[in-house]
């Protein structure tokens, strides 16, 4: 269909899952008119509506990704807003939160305005920028959080640089809270991870690669929880990778601390054993850890300790990854396969119902950042996704829309596939 077609939309007879409204109908209808979800279409609108037969399919709110990179500005060899947001659409994501470690970094109003301009021209889905917490994400001096908030950032983070100084983190939390900005933290004590290439464990020892120990993450997860208690500020812990981290967050939530957390779909599916042949495509930060971690992360996702599943889409060029393992950059491009990876690991494997995964892809991340998205309630934006949960497929290069060359799940059998994605009632992906 013509993506510009904005005729009324009527999806009939699908399983409708909307965790924000505790809705899970085995056979229901979803209507959209003028870019918004509506309870019903008038007879006249029904007559001119595009009707989609949802038999055997699932309709859910469009997914929200709290952790991705889109290449702009500065890294357009690996991704652009145009290609990255189309990859997001192919993955069912209708709202994506981008990391600020672009070139130059989004630590100033100008860069954020530039990003928003490019997005208004090229983006296929809603892009919500973040700003850095400190200037140049160097961890030394605070970035202008207040003015960046006015320029449109939804959160602040030093992303993979982390914040290594507890005093700066404490003051940043207090200052950001004044503007109602959530602080996102990539939890890592860099003094313990210098030169680290993969999870520190039996595989890193066998492969002769320097390890990133679990403790380097857990120490910062702990200090973040303590600082959340001290400052009462909102903090969101990015892509947890260790089972111990999940346990620390569980205890913090039991104390009613304002802490939320996410996990990447890849960490739900794979472990460090997948790196046995030095697969640079799976070199990620945080690293893939052990089976016990993977199962603990799944359990934490199911019981709500972890609020969101993110893509952690981090594009690299094929050339960048075609080298010695320790010279390859960290990151995997995963938009198109994130739902399938999480669905395979969580739902197809029998750990949870599809509705749990949908909640962690929609309502969970929306709540974590206070976003007005991730719902099918009448009056909300008609951002939605049509899924085929039973579809078994093996991602091929031809299924990828991203400009990057580092999707590690190409050639791996997965279950669950995005069939169509709509933003504001307009189709942005699917036949």
């Amino acid at each position: 269909m013509n993506p510009a077609d904005n005729s009324p939309l009527w999806i009939r007879g699908a399983r409708v899952i909307d965790p924000s409204a505790k809705r899970d109908e085995a056979k229901g209808d979803v209507f959209a008119l003028d870019g918004k979800i509506v309870d019903q279409l008038s007879a006249a609108d029904q007559a001119k509506a595009r009707v989609i037969d949802g038999t055997g399919l699932v309709v859910a709110p469009g997914f929200i990704d709290l952790n991705c990179r889109l290449g702009e500005p500065g890294r357009t060899a690996s991704e652009t807003i145009r290609t990255g947001t189309r990859a997001a659409a192919a993955g069912g994501f209708t709202t994506v939160v981008t990391m600020p470690d672009s070139l130059p970094a989004a630590d100033n109003v100008g860069t954020i305005q530039l990003l928003r301009e490019i997005c208004s021209r090229d983006a296929a889905v809603r892009v919500l920028p973040t700003g850095t917490l400190t200037k140049g994400h160097e961890g030394k001096a605070l970035a202008p959080l207040g003015t960046m908030k006015k320029a449109g950032v939804v959160a602040v983070t030093d992303t993979t640089s982390g914040v290594q100084n507890n005093e700066i983190m404490r003051r940043a939390l207090e200052y950001a809270a004044m503007f109602d900005l959530v602080v996102l933290d990539h939890c890592q004590d860099s003094s313990m991870t210098d030169g680290g290439q993969m999870h520190e464990g039996a595989w890193s020892l066998r492969l002769g690669l320097r390890g990133l120990p679990r403790a380097a993450e857990e120490i910062v997860v702990s200090s973040d929880c303590l600082l959340a208690e001290l400052t009462k500020a909102r903090i969101h812990l990015q892509h947890l990778s260790s089972g111990g981290s999940a346990e620390i967050v569980r205890r913090a939530k039991a104390k009613q601390l304002s802490v939320t957390a996410e996990v990447s779909a890849l960490h739900l599916l794979l472990t460090d054993a997948a790196l046995a042949n030095y697969a640079t495509s799976l070199k990620t930060n945080p690293p893939l850890r052990e089976e016990a971690d993977r199962l603990a992360l799944i359990a934490a996702l199911v019981d709500g300790t972890i609020d969101a599943v993110c893509s952690d889409h981090s594009p690299c060029t094929a050339t960048e990854k075609d080298c010695e393992f320790d010279l390859a950059p960290f990151g995997a491009a995963t938009f198109e396969t994130a739902f399938a990876a999480a669905h395979t690991a969580l739902v197809a494997a029998g750990h949870a119902d599809l509705s749990v995964l949908i909640a962690r892809l929609t309502h969970g991340p929306a709540k974590a950042l206070g976003l007005a998205a991730g719902t099918l309630k009448a009056g909300s934006l008609a951002d939605l996704v049509i899924l085929d949960a039973k579809a078994a497929w093996t991602p091929a290069k031809s299924d990828l829309v991203s400009k990057s060359g580092n999707n590690p799940l190409v050639g791996r059998a997965l279950t669950g596939r995005v069939r169509a994605t709509f933003v504001g009632g307009r189709q942005v992906f699917g036949a």
Partner: protein, 313 residues
Amino acid sequence: MAQQDTWTKKDLTGIEELSRSEIELLFRQADQFLPALAPGKGLDLMKGRTVVNLFLEPSTRTRTAFEISAKKLGAEVVSINTTASSLVKGETLRDTAENIRAMGVDAIVMRHSSAGSARYLGSVLDISVVNAGDGAHEHPTQALLDAFTLRQRFGKVEGLKVTILGDILFSRVARSNILCLSKLGAQVTLAGPATLVPAALKEAFPQVRIVHDLKEALKDCDAVMLLRIQHERQTTTHFPSLGEYTSQFGLNAERAAWLKPEAIVMHPGPINRGVEVESEVADGPRSVILEQVRNGVAVRMAVLHLCTGAISR
């Protein structure tokens, strides 16, 4: 176990990829090359072939041994050292290797600071790749010559007790030896300070025993392999000083007396005399260090002959 007669691998990237029968085949080949080590003797099995030594990390001993091995087989040898290499100009390893390949080379012997780089290069190229040390991963020819030396001394490796002492964590020699000795049926003990011999090594290599007491490590072994303490690689966090290392784990005559009478002392070189081993032991009757060096040529001849032969076959 059935004896293997045909070598099929074009590369030697690690001991991990080898079976016991392949290792034994390689030893039989090396046996045949021992007479060629005498001065004035040489073979022409690789006449007309070219071997490139691509050494992206400083090495004298291993590079020289590979050069001599190739020359003893009649091959032409070109050595590229890190300063001469175009890699310092920012070219990728794949580009460098493909350029060397395009010049009609039969084998690349590579030393590289990145773990896994030999396996990577072997997958990229259709000519032979021999790993002369990849980061902290493997140094397969060192392990082969070590096991070959043990076999020469004791008749067989099966059932021997071998202690590897020193910096296991950062050592490719240790990794290759753990794998090689285990595959040949020896029992391996790892010894040294807990920071360089972490308990987690037991998870990576369940077949090994880990001890931090030197007497315990030495008392009933048939051979002790000393590893070079490479202070440049260990940040100060792994042990306080060379002096403290020597005081705890250095092998001197007094401690060597803890060994069984027939036990031998091995070292991959170069030796830090007075650090991991005192000269009295390194040059003493237990030492097989120069036998190791000599056997290294025969073993590397076997590796080059078999790997390049696997392609023409």
